[in-house]
Amino acid sequence: MSRITQNQEAGSSFVRSMLAGHSALGIAFAALILLVCFSGTVAVFHEELLRWEEPDAPLVTNADDVVIQRTLDHIVAKAREDQALHEVTLRLPRAELPRLSAEYHDHDSGKEAHWYADADGNLTRPQVEGWTEFMRRHHYSFHGGSWGIYLVGISGVALLSLVMSGIISHPRIFRDAFSLRLGGSRRLQEADIHNRLSVWGLPFHIAISLSGAFLGLAGLVTLVLAYAAYNGDTEKAILAVLGPQATEDERPAPIPAVAPMLAQMWERAPDARPVFLHIDHVGTAGQMAMIAAHDPHQLAYTDRYRFDAAGKLIWVGGYDKGTVGMQTLAAMQPLHFGSFGGLPVKLAYGVLGIAICLVTSTGITIWLARRRDRGNPAPHWERVWAAIFWGQPIAFTVSALTALAAGWPPIPVFWASTLAVLALAALRWEAALLSFRLRLVTALLLVLLAVSHGLRWQGAGDPMMWWIDGALLLAAGAIGLTLAWQWKGGTALAQTGRA
């Protein structure tokens, strides 16, 4: 046997082995990755959805130091009234979220409250912790606390691993970079969609999987690294990265004034715009204030400025212009959520997010189609996968509908809807028929959500609600088009699973 033939065989065996590993890992993690990626795609728009959910909250486009001070005084008074003065946070208006809100939280009693303020800094109405917050936390942790966060982090590791093995196991992936053949062979069609969306979305896939895994595992990893590098002194590690924290000195002390703190911050960063103000151990000698501010020329969502009990600037995070480590840390969140370029980048992340959901789905449908091609079909798994994929938009829409219309808690509604759709896989419908019906249900639910929301809030002042309702109708229309296309029999799309 010639050396060239031997090398070719070795290469082919290596690729086959890689492909087998890629398939095994994909099959093991597909459902989890889909859940995380779909919720992440929705979570990119959490600020817009927050506005959509409560379009009657006061619109505040700007808050100067007088307004911020007044809001701070009001929320401190509320917290005192409630005997829950421990930490307070003010979220200041930005272009993406023109709202001024304030909240307090007391660790010991567990009491907390969230308020909206008007343009004068008066607290006008409580903030509803509703569907958007559910959706955001669902993406962070599936509402499973630390273990949920770690699970999401592990799904990021698996996704990153799939990206690595995917590139290595597809030697023609770049050579076929522009081929997209729909119809014809089912397996070829799914492979083309999978590979094309993967190769052109590659930088995005690496960025979100690495940053997602980092953010998900940060708590655990920091603990381990701190234990090893600082002999178990995690506080020292936190001090190195997050800066000084409030101390346990309970003697009463005046709360530092806002204006001088802002002036000190602007001395360092004249272009920065404050995003939030947080004071821990409020009104005690151990209190610590922090202002987070965004510089439009920096990737970091915010840099952090910490002030001592007297309101003197004592620490700057360096997220904007500090060490490589701090800038890397600060880049993780904006890169993960697409919060570095306003609405256009969010829309791009929305498209790329849908693409990664399709990559995940087609990975499974390729495996299912391959089984069919071998004469070993798995119709039950085809139905299960269709139910898992379409269960996500259905469950999100149903939970939003019931939360907005009847105030039902989104968590049980979401999981009940997911399980109900999954149970449909037990019916012996062909997977393509199940998929067709689930798409139809999704489209109808989206229309119902948009129309009911529009009717309920037609007098509200935030125009964002109409954009979101319009987007929901647009999504329903797009799904409707795919249904019409399939109904006419225009292509051979959709014999199994998702499509």
């Binding site: 522009f178 997209l180 053949r181 052109w200 090893a228």
Partner: protein
């Protein structure tokens, strides 16, 4: 700034057109088109950096190139007539064996995590960087190395080999982290 962003859009489309040309040609011209495409990618990143600063502009440019890639693929879409399903020969899959599956899971999961944390600790403790950078880079390497270990373990046909590589990685990581401390007598 706005026109530089516009230029960024145009250059990203031009870069993709270069790649598309390289992909379609079989002769020597493909290499010239490929080089042109790469040059235009760099020009795209430059234009976006001019528009929004390098830190924001480079991710913006890369996002723009991803979307342009999808548009070019969509434009190249080919609809074929539906074909009746038939049983065909497809690449062989590895036959699943329960015992090997469990071993691979242990290697890719817990042992991969231990090995990657070892590397993370080594960097966090010994890398010649400032403290914050050591910690953050060490923490970033953990998911990256773990993902690599996972890919390696699941793809390597020989379980023993991947077990040895992962164990070796873990031992090397902890040795790099702890041996200097032993020599200094601080452990």
């Amino acid at each position: 700034m706005t026109w530089m962003a516009g230029l960024g859009f145009v250059l990203s489309a031009a870069a993709l057109a270069g790649f598309r040309l390289a992909w379609a040609r079989q002769d020597q011209a493909r290499w010239a088109a490929l080089a042109l495409g790469i040059a235009l990618v760099l020009a795209t990143l430059w234009a976006w950096s001019m528009a929004a600063g390098a830190e924001v502009g480079i991710p913006l440019g890369i996002t723009c190139l991803c979307l342009a890639g999808y548009l070019f693929v969509g434009a190249n879409m080919e609809i074929r007539p539906a074909r009746a399903r038939r049983v065909t020969a497809t690449p062989e899959e590895r036959k699943p064996k329960f015992g090997r599956g469990v071993v691979r899971f242990i290697l890719a999961g817990p042992l991969g995590a231990v090995a990657s944390i070892g590397i993370g600790i080594a960097v966090a403790m010994q890398a010649p960087m400032v403290e914050q950078t050591r910690l953050v880079i060490g923490a970033t390497l953990v998911p990256l190395v773990w993902a690599g270990c996972m890919a390696w373990t699941l793809c390597d046909g020989r379980v023993i080999r991947s077990a040895m590589v992962l164990s070796g990685t873990a031992i090397a990581g902890y040795a790099v982290a702890l041996l200097p401390l032993l020599f200094k007598g601080t452990v």
